[in-house]
């Protein structure tokens, strides 16, 4: 009976025992107070080459004491047959997302997120399912950009196609390009050379390609007038392409004998050494006309002011908007931005090229309409155009 009494204590004693357990467990929890990161999820990163997995989680809850506050998160991963290993640095405590870019494409990985407290104690989340990185065949966030490019290209191609019908296309007068003949004529009359500077752009730079197309047209005229055309180059590949362009232009004009390869030469790849070299040519040879067409940086004003000081007629053109004020201040004529790209069509007067300019204008009209509509809608408190454009960019 005594034994039975011991095995079955009174309700008061049972209550006390339960209270001790509850309080003991509660105090222990209160001392730690940290819950591990919750809802950990690992997904293949969308719109990438399959080289990353994105892990997201909900932040761990801090403990009360300073020692139990979360100092940061450590990501751990494993492959199907391996142990967990740390990935990347300890992340700041406010982080809830990490992109693991050190994975191998096609290999499945599982992750856990470890919360590390100030005293070094760790609290691991549950393990995620195995996920592998796969590359996508289309960047879905770029669909609007792709459609815009497609529409604009169709507009240009359509105008090029219709330009062949022979209908005259109006192109506004561009003084800088009208002056090309004047500059070449002046150099011819004075018996002095023409200096053509393509800037610092490489052969893959669109402004340099545009400059080359203008050079081709200039070379045709210099071939006719037998005016020396000097082209100092900054890029070795550009040098070779330019030689070919000028040679072909002379050949097309039936003057291969007037072409002098030595007039197209390499100076240096260094920016300011190139500026010094071109300045030296200007000061020594005093060309009657200077063309500054292409991509320019800080050397733009050094070149333009030296050209101005020798009294040469200067025609500049660049798409670098920061250099345009310098050219406008120091040169006689300046092709501003898009005029540089219109030069080839303007000078050759070919209908198909002129048609592309009209397509370009359609694009401008569309953008202008979108801006006006956006402003009106914003004033009316409707901001879906703004939101859409912000999301696309």
């Amino acid at each position: 009976m005594k034994g039975q009494k011991i095995l079955c204590p009174s309700p008061v004693v049972q209550g006390l025992v339960i209270l001790v357990f509850v309080l003991g467990f509660g105090l222990n929890t209160f001392a730690q107070g940290v819950t591990p990161p919750m809802n950990v999820d690992a997904k293949d990163t969308p719109n990438d080459a399959g080289k990353s997995i994105t892990i997201t989680w909900e932040k761990a809850v801090d403990g009360i004491s300073v020692a139990n506050r979360v100092r940061g998160y450590q990501i751990l991963r494993r492959i199907e047959t391996g142990e967990f290993e740390e990935v990347g640095p300890l992340l700041p405590p406010e982080t809830t997302e990490y992109k693991d870019s050190t994975i191998e494409e096609g290999t499945p990985y599982a992750y856990i997120v470890r919360a590390v407290t100030e005293d070094g104690t760790t609290f691991d989340s549950g393990e995620t399912d195995f996920v592998k990185g796969t590359g996508e065949w289309f960047h879905t966030k770029k669909i609007p950009l792709f459609l815009a490019m497609l529409l604009f290209s169709i507009a240009i191609v359509w105008n090029i196609y219709h330009a062949q019908s022979g209908k005259e296309i109006f192109v506004r007068r561009i003084p800088g390009l009208e002056a090309v003949d004047e500059a070449i004529g002046r150099a011819t009359e004075m018996g002095r050379s023409i200096l053509y500077v393509l800037g610092l752009g490489g052969v893959s730079d669109v402004a340099t390609i545009a400059s080359m197309t203008i050079l081709g047209q200039v070379a045709r005229r210099t071939a006719d007038y037998e005016t020396p055309l000097r082209v100092p180059c900054n890029d070795p590949v550009v040098l070779n392409v330019v030689r070919e362009i000028v040679r072909s232009s002379y050949l097309n004009e039936g003057r291969p004998d007037a072409y002098n390869e030595e007039n197209i030469f390499f100076l240096t790849e260094s920016q300011f050494a190139y500026a010094a070299g071109v300045d030296g040519i200007m000061v020594r040879e005093k060309p009657a006309a200077v063309f500054l067409q292409g991509t320019f940086y800080a050397e733009s004003l050094i070149l333009a002011e030296t050209g101005n000081s020798i009294g040469a007629i200067q025609i500049a053109g660049t798409a670098s908007e920061h250099q345009l004020p310098f050219f406008i201040a120091a040169c006689d004529y300046t092709l501003i931005g898009e005029e540089l790209y219109a030069a080839s069509a303007y000078l050759s007067k070919e209908p198909m090229l002129l048609g592309s300019l009209r397509g370009q204008d359609w694009g401008k009209l569309f953008i202008f309409a979108a801006i006006v509509l956006g402003v009106i809608l914003e004033l009316l408190g409707v901001n879906w155009i703004t939101t859409f454009l912000q999301r696309v960019s």
Binding site: D48, F152, S204, G216, I245, Y341
Partner: protein, 230 residues
Amino acid sequence: MTRQVPLVLCFLFGIVMILTEFVPHSRSQGLYQGIVNWSLIISPFALVLAVATLIQTHWTRISRHTEHWQYSYVVFIGIIIMVLIGVPTFLNNVSFLSKIGLSFGPKSPIFEWLFNNVQVPMDATMFSLLAFFIASAAYRAFRARTFEATLLLITALIVMMGNVPIGDLIWNTVMAWTPWDDVTSTARQWILDNPNLSARRGIILGVSLGVISQSIRIILGIERSYLGGD
């Protein structure tokens, strides 16, 4: 045929490079990187030809005794010294040269000394000239002959006063009695953020459309001036 092959290649590579922008797959990115690497491989070959033209140009100047021909010797001396010190890294294995403190290659102390104490100061000198050229160009641009030039002059003065420390000093001491706080700085920021930024964005939009239009013309083979006319 000599004209058609480059045009076909240009079309194919142009289309492929556009598509790689929209296809993030590793095969697409590998193709893009491969094409970029090909273009990089071309550069050293072109550089050899470029250096040959540089030597040819200066040799001609010396042989013809054109104006300032003596400076062409400086080019040759510079090339020879930098090539002799920067290129033959195999000479680092010659114990005699190492003993007398000579080292070769692009990380050689002599090479670095020449770069830091000759080329860098000369570049800085050319860059410094910009200050004087800006002054002379500004003088011409800001002469108040027309309404537009006067507008430009006033705008430039406001922006300048808002940028330089003396502008703040004048406003916060001499003009401190006025009810407006730091008006030059505010006006400068307004000019840069509104009329200036609007004009720049207009130019950028035009340039971007021009680039696309030019690229389409080249890809479709309509623009052939870069091949030398026609």
